[in-house]
């Protein structure tokens, strides 16, 4: 059932799943913690894939959440019916901050995530050491190809594959139209495919 059909219930409340938490945090800033716990891994992960270093990712994550806390008064819910059930404009807002913080940090460090993949150290099977090493190498190669993409293409791929954001959410984070993001992703994937094909040949 769509929110429009549900009488006596606010459409925004239905669409923005973080509304109750955000309102509680606005009333009392010490209630910000549940929002922090919900999004910590996502923000950290995004920062890590963008910066390629755990310490830099921690710095960016810390800065993002402190900025979100001190600027919570600026946040406005903007959920649209098209965003779908479970959408969170707070998440989009938070990721916009993260995107800016990470972009500033990248500019400051002039470092590109060419070899970031401690992330590939995700152990798929602890008994299969060889298989795990191969998986890590594969992941490192794939990520290096994503890391060579230009700005918004790279961000769109990370937000789509790591954060599992919808096209509408990515559009919100990147400040682009949904149509533009929809076109951006296949282009990015083609570039990665060409890059991988060229390097692995």
């Amino acid at each position: 059932m769509s929110a429009d059909q549900e009488p006596g219930r606010s459409r925004v409340a239905y669409l923005d799943r973080d509304r109750a938490l955000v309102e509680a945090a606005r009333r009392d800033l010490s209630a910000f913690e549940p929002l922090y716990r919900r999004y910590l891994a996502q923000v950290y992960s995004y920062a890590y894939y963008e910066l390629g270093d755990h310490h830099d990712a921690e710095d960016a994550t810390e800065r993002t959440f402190l900025l979100a806390l001190t600027n919570l008064g600026r946040f406005e819910e903007r959920a649209q019916p098209a965003d779908g059930e479970g959408a969170s404009t707070f998440r989009v807002w938070l990721f916009r901050i993260a995107r800016n913080v990470v972009a500033n940090q990248r500019r400051a460090h002039r470092r590109r995530p060419e070899v970031p993949l401690e992330a590939a150290a995700v152990v798929h099977d602890p008994l299969d050491v060889e298989g795990d090493a191969a998986a890590r190498a594969d992941a490192a190669t794939a990520w290096a190809a994503v890391g060579r993409l230009p700005g918004d293409r790279r961000r769109a791929v990370v937000l789509r594959f790591v954060e599992e954001m919808s096209t509408a959410e990515i559009a919100g984070v990147l400040g682009r139209s949904e149509g533009a993001v929809r076109v951006l992703i296949p282009r990015a994937l083609r570039s990665v495919a060409r890059d991988l094909g060229g390097r692995e040949r």
Partner: protein
């Protein structure tokens, strides 16, 4: 007859979008079978499947998580104190932002801050608490006055060199000396 390139790109984009939705949903369910989309470019399908398998979410350390939680709680407490102290400025207002920017796009404004802006957010806390700034200025002034007084006291207590004693004696003599009378002789 094939469709014009722009339409084909749009159709491709839409198809990729639907395919990725299905692929990522399958990953979340830990499903082993990849969704099929015969109409989609096989190169895109292959690379999408590879990225879906390889790009996992990375978790921060527990230690970092707890440290940042404590830091946020501290910052929240400071903000509450500043508000309770009667700070007029709302959290939405902050110096250095571009007023021409859309006020309903907070993240953009946050993004417009300089790179070297205080990453801890302490500047925000202090900036909003104007009384803290005034208090700081008063404290600085008090330190300066106390410093000057201590220096004068030290100078006065310091044993004088013969030359300094002579100079002080001349000065005192001048002060005690009546205008028009001859100066006293120094022995």
């Amino acid at each position: 007859m094939s469709p014009p390139p722009s339409e084909r790109a749009e159709a491709d984009a839409l198809l990729t979008d639907l395919y990725l939705d299905a692929l990522l949903a399958a990953r979340e369910r830990h499903a082993t079978d990849a969704p099929t989309a015969a109409a989609l470019d096989p190169a895109i399908r292959a690379v999408a499947a590879r990225l879906a398998a390889d790009l996992d979410r990375v978790h921060p350390s527990f230690r970092f998580e707890e440290r940042l939680a404590a830091r946020l709680a501290e910052a929240a407490a400071r903000l509450r104190l500043a508000m309770a102290a009667g700070a007029e400025a709302s959290t939405a207002r902050r110096g250095g932002t571009d007023p021409a920017r859309s006020p309903d796009d907070p993240a953009d404004e946050i993004g417009s801050w300089p790179v070297d802006a205080d990453p801890t957010g302490d500047a925000e806390v202090h900036g909003r608490g104007r009384p803290l700034l005034i208090g700081g200025a008063l404290t600085s002034a008090a330190i300066s006055i106390a410093g000057a007084a201590a220096y004068v006291a030290w100078r006065r207590a310091r044993p004088l060199t013969p030359l300094a004693r002579a100079v002080r004696g001349v000065g005192q003599g001048r002060l005690a000396h009546e205008p028009g009378s001859p100066p006293e002789r120094l022995d």
